[in-house]
């Protein structure tokens, strides 16, 4: 990966820090979040790598990552982070940037009727909040 000073200093890191109210730049990549993440096996990149992309101002790569969409916001990472960063909030900030740019993750019309019929209300409301 080739990095430029402009890219690293870009407004993207600030935007994510502002939206999440979490410090991304203090992360020293210990990987504890990834080690304890219950959804890591479904992510294309483990959570600590997503943080690294944000730190390095790699906006496109960070927003293209599947990982934020598999974050269930369970805060396991947050309760274990030695730097006190709540990664669930960073993941929400990344989702928010994509969603606010008009890129929903979930298409309600594509959900099979049998899924719609049996899922609990809580799953719908949470899914609508997190993925659309």
């Amino acid at each position: 990966m080739r990095l430029s000073r402009d890219e690293v200093a870009r407004a993207f890191v600030q935007r994510i820090e502002e939206l999440s109210e979490e410090r991304v730049l203090t992360c020293y990549q210990c990987g504890k979040c990834s080690a304890g993440c219950p959804m890591v096996e479904f992510m294309d990149r483990p959570p600590h790598q997503v943080i690294r992309l944000v730190q390095l101002g790699q906006e496109q790569a960070a927003l293209a990552a599947e990982a934020p969409w598999y974050c269930a916001a369970c805060h396991s990472c947050a309760s274990r982070c030695p730097r006190g960063t709540d990664l669930s909030r960073v993941m929400e900030a990344l989702r928010s940037v994509a969603l606010r740019a008009g890129r929903p993750r979930l298409d309600w019309n594509k959900l099979p009727p049998e899924v719609l019929a049996r899922l609990p209300q809580q799953a719908f409301v949470s899914g609508a909040r997190k993925l659309t």
Partner: protein, 287 residues
């Protein structure tokens, strides 16, 4: 003791056994639960982006309805508990957000206390007093399952140790059951991912169930209707893994121990039938 009781959407629509058993237990324990008129959905998840304030309006109104009636709030569902408690904490500690929500809802903020029913039972009665009320001791091995939203973030939930939670263990033990610990007891069930990628929550459910079953648990105990769906209803997809493992709401465990009628437990709504676990239980106990 009188509390405002917030049921939430899933408890009302898909987990009537959770509510019926909770109401029956509360009655026996002398806790009056008052359901506010016109309550609204809590939003199911607390908004984590700092500038996303609109989702706070609905829990704000719910909290203020209780505050106006001079009541603390209690709830059964882990998610409602998480949203209501975090909203109350945010409004109490963040003056800027408070001013915005007050302007938007046209209602002044009043401090209000939110507690999960488990917290109320632990803190208002205590385990010994609860044991004294039991009509029978449950000689069962029960695996407490905490999941994510009941405990975290711990500094706001202020409930139990998020890495080594004990409240459900203590509840089971007080009622004569043997709590079975598992490394997956505080790990997320995949929650709403059951909607977006069914594989992900099924994999989480498989780990949680296998860990409990492997340690000899006869049932899992939870406090969340979404966890219940992922662990119980979706066990149909895990039939090849072994005998179905029943998943109980903690209020059903209480109802059984307090000698309440099976009607309030509505075990017929479960995929894995818990009824045989309670059949032939000896009465008496220490109450």
């Amino acid at each position: 003791m009188k509390l405002a009781y917030f049921p939430g959407c899933t408890v009302k629509a898909q987990a009537p056994q959770f509510e019926a058993s909770a109401l029956a237990v509360a009655r026996v324990l002398g806790v009056e639960l008052v359901e506010p008129a016109n309550w609204q959905c809590c939003g199911a998840v607390y908004p984590l982006a700092t500038d996303n304030l609109l989702p706070l309006a609905s829990p704000y109104r719910t909290l203020m309805a209780a505050a106006k009636a001079g009541l603390d709030v209690t709830t059964l569902c882990s998610a409602c508990h998480n949203v209501l408690k975090r909203t109350a904490h945010r409004l109490q500690t963040d003056a800027e957000v408070r001013a915005k929500l007050e302007a938007f809802t046209e209602e002044p903020w009043q401090p209000v206390r939110v507690r999960h029913l488990l917290e109320v039972i632990r803190d208002e009665f205590g385990w010994e007093a609860l044991a004294g009320r039991a009509q029978r001791r449950l000689s069962l091995r029960l695996a407490p399952y905490y999941g994510c939203l009941l405990l975290r973030p711990a500094e706001v939930m202020a409930f139990d140790d998020p890495e080594r939670p004990r409240v459900l263990h203590q509840l089971c033990a007080a009622l004569g059951a043997e709590p079975v610990s598992s490394p997956y007891e505080a790990e997320c069930c995949g929650a709403f991912l059951t909607l977006a990628d069914a594989r992900a929550s099924l994999a989480a459910a498989r780990n949680i169930i296998a860990a409990a079953r492997g340690r000899g648990a006869q049932a899992i105990v939870t406090s969340c209707p979404l966890c219940h769906f992922n662990l119980d209803a979706r066990q149909a997809e895990l039939a090849a893994d072994g005998q179905p493992l029943p998943v109980l709401y903690f209020t059903q465990v209480l109802a059984q121990a307090l000698g309440l009628s099976d009607d309030c437990c509505q075990f017929d709504l479960h995929y894995a039938d818990p009824a045989p676990r309670f059949a032939g239980e000896s009465g008496g106990g220490n109450g």
